[in-house]
């Protein structure tokens, strides 16, 4: 099992009903795995769909919770600047479970000097806003990533709140940036 497959497995294992994604080269293998296991192809399946912006993804997938199901968003961490108002004024304030998995940029293995400016403070930004954050990197096995992502989804449902999992693919089998 690759790390990308582990993330996808964890998302489904959490009981996720629907996934929206915003593309990133690092999460593309996650999306491909989600789509493949859902019987789709070319980035689209019955339960996995592309979305155009992170705040939109929070709105579309956050709304899944009103029907008693869990939605998930797969994205890159530099999009949290776009998503923060929706995360706080919608999902957090309305007590809506939502699983967000984001690959991280701006740390080890990063080639883009500018992206540090948003990605480095993301965990602190999210925690300051009251969002639970779980961080994963090379020190954990793919199996541990799977179990953690699954449990993060379960935690979101149990706590009626969005939960963010940040995954650094550097020095795993995945692409770092």
């Amino acid at each position: 099992m690759t790390y990308a497959e582990a993330v996808a497995d964890g998302i489904w294992a959490a009981g996720t009903a629907r996934v929206g994604y915003i593309p990133s080269v690092s999460v593309a293998p996650v999306v491909n795995s989600l789509v493949a296991t859902d019987g789709g192809a070319d980035g689209v399946s019955p339960r996995v769909t592309p979305l155009s912006r992170e705040e939109e993804a929070i709105g579309v997938m956050g709304a899944v919770a009103f029907t008693g199901e869990l939605g998930a968003v797969v994205m890159q961490d530099n999009g949290f600047g776009n998503a923060l108002t929706a995360l706080t004024t919608f999902t957090l304030s309305y007590h809506l479970p939502l699983l967000v998995f984001a690959n991280t940029r701006g740390s080890l293995g990063e080639y883009n000097s500018m992206i540090h400016s948003i990605s480095q403070p993301v965990p602190a930004l999210l925690r300051t806003a009251g969002l639970p954050v779980v961080e994963l990197d090379r020190r954990s096995s793919a199996e541990d990533w799977r179990d953690t992502v699954k449990e993060a989804g379960v935690h979101a449902v149990m706590t009626y709140r969005p939960v963010v999992v940040l995954g650094s693919f550097w020095n795993t089998d995945g692409k770092a940036a």
Binding site: A17, P50, R53, G59, V60, G62, V64, F66, G71, S93
Partner: protein
Amino acid sequence: MKRIEALQALADLTGHPVVVTCAATSRELASVKDSDNHLYLLDAMGLVGSVATGLALSLDTSAPKVVGIEGDGSLLMNPNVLPTGGYLAPDNLLLVLLDNGVYGSTGDLPTYSSRIDLGRLAAAVGWTTRSTATVDGLKTAFGELLTVRGPAFLHARIEAGNAQGIEKLLIDPVTITDRFTRWLREVHASAVAA
């Protein structure tokens, strides 16, 4: 047509899941009819189309269409809801745009809608559209769009200005979640998860 007149008409027409934009629009809708099927977005400006799309995708088609009530300033804050809705194309989505050409809750500063036809924008990305500027036209167009499969967009031109004497909608959003989800479960049990 004033906004509150449009909202009165929509309140009379909707036993649907209704997602409504923040500030004056939510307040005025609640003042004419506060109902469990109303999901007021008290902040999160620009998110009505996204939330309505997510609901439409998640609900069984046995449920009534999801109706989003949006303003022009709010839509222009997140206009990508239009291509997203057109692409994902849920059968059961009806977005009503109350377009007064200004940011009505923030000093009546102008939006782009005096020069940009938001109905044409919606049509260009796959929505079935109707336009009106009267209450009777709103009722007729709403009825027509209920019969449409796929995303539907009702572009209603309204007068600028907020209704006077309307109380602020001071309600904990989690209360809205609770009553809206309970309403969905109780009224449309077959359309939501057990």
